[in-house]
């Protein structure tokens, strides 16, 4: 149930496939629910050219590790996975992946949803958007 922070580009479906191949036994789970959040090219009425994602490295890692542990405690999971980008992000780039594997779909859906909702509500990340020649800090998180 790891959480990873990536500065490099993130290919969520490739990461999912690799993680599954390396860490999950085929036939041990019946359900995998995953969520991928991607940077849109359009936010709050303006074209966004670039986004910079600041974080608080040690606290962000600690928060996400604990979040995965919480999800595993709250639901019957075989495993879960969180990956989040930081640094410079372009429109169309994936930002976040949350995934949960379980015997049954109820747990997989609930845990996957919990991971992204808690991450968005409390994980220490801050988005700054560049539109035209202006930069602005995002005040809510409407990107996904």
């Amino acid at each position: 149930m790891p959480a990873y922070l990536y500065e490099q580009a993130l290919d969520p479906l490739k990461e999912l496939a690799q993680y599954q191949n390396q860490h999950l036994c085929p036939g041990s789970y019946g359900a995998c629910t995953n969520f991928i959040g991607t940077m849109r090219d359009f936010n709050a009425g303006t074209d966004v050219q670039l986004m910079t994602l600041e974080h608080y490295p040690e606290m962000t890692q600690k928060f996400l590790d604990r979040l995965c542990k919480e999800a595993t405690d709250k639901w019957e999971l075989v495993d879960c996975l969180v990956i989040h980008r930081f640094g410079d992000i372009k429109p169309g780039d994936p930002i976040v992946l949350t995934a949960a594997w379980s015997a049954h779909r109820e747990d997989a859906f609930s845990a996957c949803r919990y991971l992204i909702e808690e991450l968005k509500a409390r994980a220490p990340f801050w988005k700054k958007e560049t539109t035209g020649h202006k930069e602005r800090w995002v005040h809510d998180a409407p990107s996904s």
């Binding site: 989040h84 220490p124 998180a141």
Partner: protein, 79 residues
């Protein structure tokens, strides 16, 4: 009373507003997070500012211990 050594960090719009990302300060015992803000900055504590002690969320009235790392940041917008 011995002075404590506290690491203070600021993130995102707070970091830019204050022009400071990190500072090491000496502080009196039993100081709270809000009092650390007042000691380090010349501004009022901004509404909605979040804070942490040693990478865990904390409240402005929480007391800080010697060697702690205290952080201030705006509402988060990840995901």
């Amino acid at each position: 009373m011995l002075a404590m050594s506290i690491q203070v960090k600021f993130f995102a719009s707070l970091r830019e507003m204050l022009g400071m990302d990190s500072t090491q300060i000496e502080a009196r015992a039993n100081i709270t997070i809000r009092e650390i803000w007042d000691q380090v900055t010349s501004r009022d504590y901004p509404v909605n500012t979040l804070c942490a002690i040693n990478m865990d969320y904390a409240k402005p009235d929480d007391v800080v211990n010697d060697g702690d790392e205290v952080a201030f940041f705006p509402p988060v917008t990840g995901g």
